[in-house]
Subunit: 417 residues, 2 copies
């Protein structure tokens, strides 16, 4: 029986040139974040199913690749009609990080500045630019309740994007507490807030009237909806202190904190960073408790990263809340944007191909390898392989891979082509 | 409900210092193999269950983490009592590579020199140094039937080990065809060869007498066993031409090829490489068709890598055989050996921690970040974070992470500690 040649649905084989770009981007990210004090950690791809289904993953929990029990446990479960699955592939890096910190905090600095680059899996409907296995890149600061956390996360991420050659981005910023205080002031009950926010989040797609209609259709009190719409009318260019003044009360101290974060994060980013208050920014995950942010790139209709403060998540593992704030960079989107722009990965040295003829004698074979070693010692890449019958095709493929000089070794010694 | 803090059974959380060592080793491997012309590729962690159970994985096929179907497909399968699983986590990098090459060969150079570093999963019984998720590191040359493939694989791998500081290793080498010709000459039927080799493979554990007894116990013809044992008597230091002479026939041309590979691979490795013919070397996987090799490290009772030629595997995907030869480096064992030796990862620059007091004013906050940016531009690492109440503990943990200078920023400006 012939085996199946294509990858599993929605997953990718990456060609060498694609891997080179991905590795280049990873290299820049790790170097910049490391210089800013973030430490790379690693967690397993496989998580306990209980942790993945603990309501911290939102809609992602519907997309889990579930792993079956094995051996006797599977047999027992099958016989008794019990649960056949004991684990699953992680769908994000935040749940594993929370587990990791609860498990290892005694061995880690506090505050702990974590960096993760790893694959996650979601059984989503595959579509352009959306895969079932993809790389996420997160930084998180655990154990720091102060605004230093937000400033360090935003400025480090701005720095990474600048190093990768992006200048056309803006960090939109808001605070979950401002969203809640606004909804509260307009008369929405706390248990309705999440439903209200999901509708508000559509502002950029359906506009203010669309938000109003959806809120009314959802059956919310028309007076509350009217007030709510008034607050968000013409809010596109409002400052956070003006917005907070219209809400009043606690909102003003939240806004003062946000303003300070925006000012410092912009100044702390090498080359500067554009930050913009956006009172309609919601962010999907319900675990956020404070500041939230999202990176918008000119010319792209999607965010290339985002994050926020989630002070109550770690308590679900340890029983004790730990302040936490994170930023997830959209690795696949950044790689896609660079590929679209025609970016080529800088080569580290000249690349040669040494090709052995079939008739090569032992002495020439040895000199081929010693010539290769000498050039490699100078920092060059030397591919040593057999010369194929279809040399024209072989040469053009190697040129695609960056080879610029060819030498053929055979019984008459070496020829430079 | 509290979530589960520990990783899933047999899998690891890696601390920052552990990740630093792993990343250092990966960096050396990728740099050396790249200079030798190997191109990094990437395949998904998830493979079709048909490919994983196609008899190319030997005993590893018993250790598959199986992934369940989803949605309607799962419901249909459950109702009809059908197969609940459609895919699984890869247990090695050879099956995915074979699928990858069959799927992408038109876009790749020929011969193609592939490099892979990735995680694989096996539901093995966890024990010291053996994990259920671990990193494999493979190089393979596809489409080259000549001995250049073996020489390039062995010399490049020898070069990686030398760069990592290992000098105490030997590459043991043999050829599956020699094993077969020897067994044939002694009268074992071809269909019995694999069972005979599994017993021969135990030579280093049970000795020649042990091999003899097991062969007899397995019911093989005593005359064949006697002949077989005679061939392998005192074979510990035999040359491959002497061994082949005792077998005769085709064995002599196979041995001539092996000798040439050994001579050239040793000369082609920068700093030299010790190679040793070992007629009892078998290698577990039955897909090998020619040269096989294994790296032995003095002071360690296990191999730190191995591989060989498998010319008939790729045909199972494409219907067309492609000559193939690969070398798998024991990444986890190399990392373990370096950790045991007390190796420390070289730091790239001085590491600072800038700590913000609670009472820091906005101006000092900004100067803290601009001071940090200036030092980072010089190649230093600067961790910017909040100063904690338990400063002594915080300082000692940061020192563990390599921080050598501390500055505290507060309302009275900066203090260097």
């Amino acid at each position: 029986m012939k085996l199946i040649k294509t990858p599993t649905k929605g997953m990718n084989d990456y060609l060498p040139s694609e891997v080179a770009l991905r590795e280049y981007v990873k290299g820049v990210i790790v170097k910049e974040y490391s210089a800013a004090g973030f430490r790379l950690i690693e967690t397993p791809a496989v998580e306990h199913i209980e942790n993945l289904t603990g309501k911290n993953g939102g809609d992602n929990e519907k997309l889990i690749f579930r792993i079956m029990k094995r051996g006797e446990e599977l047999e027992r479960a099958a016989e008794s009609g019990g649960e056949l699955c004991d684990s699953g592939l992680r769908y994000d890096l935040t749940v594993p990080l929370s587990r990791y910190y609860s498990n290892n905090s005694a061995k880690l600095p506090s505050p702990f500045m974590a960096m993760q680059i790893g694959n996650v899996w979601r059984a989503d409907r595959p579509q352009k630019g959306r895969f079932r296995q993809f790389t996420q890149c997160d930084i998180d600061i655990l154990g720091d309740a102060s605004k230093t956390a937000e400033i360090s996360l935003i400025s480090a991420t701005g720095g990474v994007l600048k190093k990768l050659g992006f200048n056309n981005f803006t960090v939109r910023i808001n605070d979950r507490r401002l969203l809640k205080l606004t909804a509260e002031k307009c008369g929405f009950a706390p248990e309705d807030h999440d439903r209200v926010f999901i509708i508000l989040d559509k502002m950029d797609k359906i506009g203010l009237d669309g938000v109003k209609n959806e809120l009314l259709e959802a059956g919310f009190d028309s007076e509350s909806v009217e007030k709510y719409i008034t607050v968000y009318t013409d809010c596109g260019n409002t400052t956070c202190s003006d917005f907070a003044a219209s809400v009043g009360g606690e909102a003003e101290s939240v806004a003062a904190g946000l303003s300070a974060i925006m000012k410092a994060a912009s100044a702390a980013t090498v080359g500067g960073c554009s930050l913009k208050f956006d009172p309609t920014l919601v962010r999907g995950m319900s675990y956020y408790t404070g500041t939230i942010f999202e990176i918008e790139m000119d010319g792209y209709g999607y965010s290339v990263g985002g994050g926020g403060r989630y002070d109550e998540m770690l308590g679900k593992f340890s029983g004790q809340n730990v302040p936490a704030c994170g930023f997830s960079l959209g690795f696949e989107r950044i790689v896609g944007a660079l590929a679209d722009s025609g970016f080529t990965v800088p080569m580290s040295g000249k690349s040669y191909a040494f090709l052995a003829e079939k008739n090569i004698d032992d002495e020439t074979l040895l000199s081929m390898y010693s010539d290769a070693a000498a050039l490699r010692a100078e920092g060059c890449t030397v591919t040593v392989t057999s010369k194929m019958k279809n040399f024209g095709f072989q040469k053009s493929k190697l040129e695609d891979e960056g080879v610029s000089e060819f030498r053929v070794y055979g019984e008459n010694g070496v020829k430079i082509l």
